[in-house]
Amino acid sequence: MPHQTHDPNIILSLKNIHKTYVQGRNPIPVLKGVELSVKTGEMVSIMGSSGSGKSTLLNIIGLLDDYDQGEYLLAGKQMGKMDETKAAALRNRHLGFIFQSFHLIPFKTAQENVALPLFFQNVPRKKRNQKALEYLEMLGMTQWATHLPNELSGGQKQRVAIARAMVTNPNVILADEPTGALDNDTSFEVMKIFKQINNSGITILIITHEKDIAAMTDRTLYLHDGVIHNRIIK
């Protein structure tokens, strides 16, 4: 239970987050007091050079990794140390993921891929396939519903991934270099789709190293030397 009054407008709140990796005998501090807060409905991008800890930060926010110090509130709830079962359930309910290499399951059709998060919610087959189709439709992928991922182009695969990320109606969609594997035109298309989704009220957090992509978001934060800055540090 959060013991401070929580601003219902803030969907993501990170305070003084520290994370250190232990490589052999030398501990490597990656995050050294990250402060971050995202309002509901914002589209925020985080930029940083490689090795800056972007992925680590995203993993922590995505409940895929834990942190050593600090406080993380998601939708007003404390996200402290928890067992994997609880974390998985929370991920499923509150978060949607989009990855640079799409990470679709290769032997499932587009529709089945999109429906998968609902399978973990024990939604019956017919219903979840129906919902999956709805979201594919939203992304203009209806006629590709029964195709396997290897029959789709990069842009199409990412659209399927986006549909999958949305199907559970998450609070926040986390995108890790979503346009990294796409050409310029396709990247643009995907960002347009993000904007559309964002307009319907879903919060989006994008990790990217491309300035043009970051420019299309509401706000850009910079991760440098283990902390968040509002401006680029040269």
Binding site: N59, L64, I105
Partner: protein, 413 residues
């Protein structure tokens, strides 16, 4: 978990297995083979057992033969080395005193070189003098004509019954009943032909009344050995009766009842039960081998599943990231392994039972092999073993899968 979600999960698993056919099939066949061999071995073992059982059934299972020997222990002032001989009174005494004996007969035999002639045909056969009730002890049956009876015995008639091979050699296909043959030059009338399908030795014997044998071919009422059936099916009781008879004869012939060489007994019940013990041991051995081959199958499945987990690391990572709990991953792995084991194991089971059935149909007339089959209990036992082994095989891969960390699995290369 309700029925629909279980069904859903199974569909999910079937789909995965189907998409990875080669891997699934290779894995599964090892288990099929294991169960197939087990069923085949077990069935053949039963076939052997049934064959022996049947062979013994044809001869009265509870028959006892007593053969005299030579004393090996000095007793009551008499040195060892004395030959023991039986006579008719011994047979009568046993019949009178030992309550559990049913049919009993002394036997006197002329050996296999005994010359028997019909018209121009001659042959050499063993001729045995027996009482009429011997038929109950050896379980041969009369094909044509009649068996020896008490009247033959009382009137010391020169009559004979011939084994079918004797009939073949002397008469070929010509009628034999009522004809006269010469046994060592003495004329006997053929009154019956007998057959003994389970005993090779009997088919070329000739039986005549023992009274006749003793009068015509012997000087006195000597009896070479004594055969009888005992009214019991219990091994311990049979041994007790043997001991009773031993003591009775030891008293009559003045030898120590502990003298194992003065008297030899052949107790078919004991032999049968020894066979059965042997078979129980063989069966145990077969199970050990069978289980061993199944264990090999399990190890192989476990290995393949471990490799599969490695292959599917990314997929499992994705699933976990999207919200699959570790328990669900473990369950998925276990059910997959069990399904492979069960499915392919069942196939091996059917194949094994099928082969056994074919064997049963086409391998007939082989001595000591009959009805190689598995009873339902064993089949279900095998199936149970399959399920358990599937679970066992699945444990290691399942644990591997559960420990996959999504961030490691999803690390972009």
């Amino acid at each position: 978990m309700d029925v629909r979600s279980i069904f859903d999960r199974l569909q999910e698993i079937f789909y995965t297995l189907e998409k990875n056919k080669l891997r699934t099939i290779l894995t599964g066949l090892t288990v099929s083979w294991g169960i197939f061999m087990l069923i085949l071995l077990l069935g053949s073992g039963y076939g052997l057992e049934n064959g022996v059982h049947s062979a013994f059934q044809e001869d009265a299972v509870n028959s006892l033969w007593i053969n005299p020997g030579q004393t090996s222990i000095p007793y009551k002032g008499i040195k060892q080395g004395r030959r023991i001989l039986f006579h008719n009174p011994d047979v009568n005494e046993i019949n009178r005193e030992i309550t559990r004996t049913e049919a009993i007969s002394g036997r006197f035999y002329l050996d296999r070189s005994t010359n028997v002639r019909y018209e121009k045909k001659t042959g050499n056969f063993q001729v045995v003098g027996v009482r009429p009730e011997y038929e109950k002890i050896e379980n041969y049956f009369i094909k044509t004509g009649r068996s020896l009876n008490q009247l033959d015995e009382n009137r010391i008639r020169k009559v004979a019954i011939l084994g079918i091979e004797v009939q073949q050699e002397l008469f070929q296909n010509r009628p034999s009943i009522g004809k006269y043959i010469l046994i060592k030059g003495v004329s006997f009338q053929v009154v019956g032909i007998f057959d003994d399908p389970e005993d090779e030795w009997n088919k070329d014997r000739i039986f005549i009344p023992i009274s006749t044998m003793q009068k015509v071919f012997s000087k006195n009422d000597l009896v070479h050995n004594i055969a009888m059936t005992i009214n019991t099916e219990d091994k311990l009781e049979a041994l007790a009766v043997e001991q009773e008879i031993r003591e009775l004869l030891a008293g009559r012939h003045t030898f120590s009842k502990n003298d194992r060489r003065a008297l030899f007994t052949h107790n078919s019940l004991i032999e049968y039960s020894n066979f059965m013990d042997l078979f129980a041991n063989i069966r145990l051995f077969i199970w050990v081998i069978g289980v061993g081959s199944i264990v090999a199958g399990i190890v192989s499945i476990s290995n393949i599943m471990l490799i599969a987990v490695k292959e599917r690391t990314r997929e499992i990572g994705i699933r976990k990231a999207l919200g699959e709990s570790p328990n669900s991953v473990i369950k998925m792995m276990l059910i997959e392994t069990i399904m492979i084991t069960l499915g392919f194991g069942y196939f091996g089971l059917i194949a094994g039972v099928g082969i056994l059935e074919i064997m049963g149909k086409y391998i007939t007339g082989v001595a000591y092999f009959k009805n190689p089959e598995i009873n339902l209990g064993v089949a279900f036992g095998a199936l149970l073993i399959l399920v358990l082994s599937g679970a066992l095989a699945g444990i290691f891969p399942a644990r591997q899968a559960a420990h996959i960390r999504p961030i490691d699995a999803l690390r972009d290369e």
